[in-house]
């Protein structure tokens, strides 16, 4: 394996090597997604033994009591309610060919959010909820939405709202090798240091979880995917998960990738898999 790895110096080779390893090495050496997840959950549970598993869906508010109190007050009447309302109206507006968004999906309304991100075998790549909305628009002859547009965020806010209570249930099917490669790409991204600050996502949200970054506590990676899109009090508007990725990558002083880029979709795929079993509670409110 070492020899192999030396030959494949390029970045993308990493996933390939992992795949190869999966094929030739016994299970114990190569950790599959489910082994990864159990290790991941176990780590956070040992770091925060008093936080029940389900609580991780509340992000930083699971581990920061002071911030939690203020968050609960905002949740009394959360500003994202406007987005849900607008999203519902958009969802129900038929396209010019009189089809609707609902016609694009194989699931009842409340189950659409939980069906993503998924590996789309036909397309050979990870499809997120946001991307699926644009696929739907294009298939119906409509103009796709910008991923940071109010319309896109409102639609995803509505779909998260009606999915509340559903569990995250991301799959990396064994019979679809492309899905494992996508998962591995997302995992590699998460653990790779990048940018001028030389920080990996995991450096802050795994290794240093709960510690201070300036005056804030670092939130746990486990549970991050449950609540997007979120209303950012600081911005006075809602952002998607990929805008958060964009902000994190920029904050470590690396050049961010585009929203819904393959890099971010694979990252979302990995992260959502790590949070399997947690309850969808979006849209959320964050500072």
């Amino acid at each position: 394996m070492l020899v192999l790895e030396r030959r494949h110096r390029s970045i993308r080779a990493g996933a390939f090597v992992a795949l190869l390893a999966a094929a030739i090495l016994p299970h114990a050496v190569f950790a599959g997604p489910e082994e990864d997840r159990l290790d991941f959950v176990g780590y956070f549970q040992s770091r925060f033994p008093n936080v029940p598993f389900d609580e991780f869906a509340n992000g930083i508010y699971a581990i920061d009591e002071d911030a939690r109190t203020q968050w609960l007050e905002i949740e009394e009447f959360p500003p994202y309610e406007f987005a849900i309302e607008r999203g519902e109206a958009l969802w129900q507006t038929p396209f010019s060919n009189s089809s609707t968004y609902a016609d694009c999906y194989d699931w009842p309304l409340g189950e659409i959010r939980a069906a993503y991100p998924k590996f789309d075998a036909a397309r050979g790549e990870v499809v997120t909820l946001d991307l699926s909305i644009n696929h739907c628009l294009v298939a119906n002859g409509e103009t796709p939405l910008a991923y940071n547009s109010s319309e896109m965020i409102d639609l995803t806010a509505y779909l998260a709202w009606v999915a509340r209570g559903q569990k995250i249930d991301v799959r990396v099917p064994d019979d679809e090798p492309g899905s494992l490669a996508a998962y591995e790409e997302g995992k590699r991204f998460y653990y790779s240091k990048r940018g001028q600050l030389n920080l990996a996502c995991a450096d802050c949200h795994v290794t240093s979880v709960g510690m201070y970054v300036r005056a804030d506590h670092l939130s746990a990676s486990l549970g991050h995917p449950t609540h997007f899109p979120v209303y950012r009090s600081k911005l006075g508007r809602m952002i998607s998960m990929h805008e958060r990725f964009y902000g994190c990558v920029r904050d470590v002083r690396a050049r961010p990738f585009d929203l819904q880029s393959l890099e971010y979709r694979n990252l979302e795929y990995f992260l959502a898999y790590m949070s399997n079993g947690l309850t969808i509670n979006g849209p959320g409110a964050r500072k």
């Binding site: 009394e76 009447f77 959360p78 500003p79 309610e81 406007f82 309302e85 607008r86 109206a89």
Partner: protein, 103 residues
């Protein structure tokens, strides 16, 4: 577009518990547009008024120090189911909105 005021009410005996959320930028006038660098002019709600069956039950005078998309909660007595509650606001640029709900 949907209403810019959301209201939630609860009746406990004859006391109405009113919570409302207003869609408004509440610009302070001190902020600069991140793209153009131009100052964003002040744009904020100055007054919020609520009436129950035509009687004023709350009048709030507000400044730019109220958060974007303002939230207010207040209570009044003498309420009963079926009362007509109105909440309205006016801002410094002459914008206005009003919503009516039944307790």
């Amino acid at each position: 577009m949907a209403s810019k005021i959301k209201v939630k009410t609860k009746l406990l005996g004859d006391v109405a518990d009113v919570k409302c959320l207003l869609l408004h930028p509440m610009e302070t006038g001190a902020r600069k547009d991140p793209d153009t660098g131009e100052p964003v002019p002040a744009h904020h709600i100055t007054q919020l008024t609520s009436t129950n069956n035509g009687e004023v039950v709350m009048l709030a005078n507000l400044s730019t120090a109220i958060s974007t998309n303002p939230y207010f909660s207040f209570k009044f007595s003498g309420a009963k189911a079926g009362d007509t509650l109105k909440i309205g606001w006016v801002d410094n640029l002459g914008g206005t909105d009003e919503v009516e709900t039944t307790l």
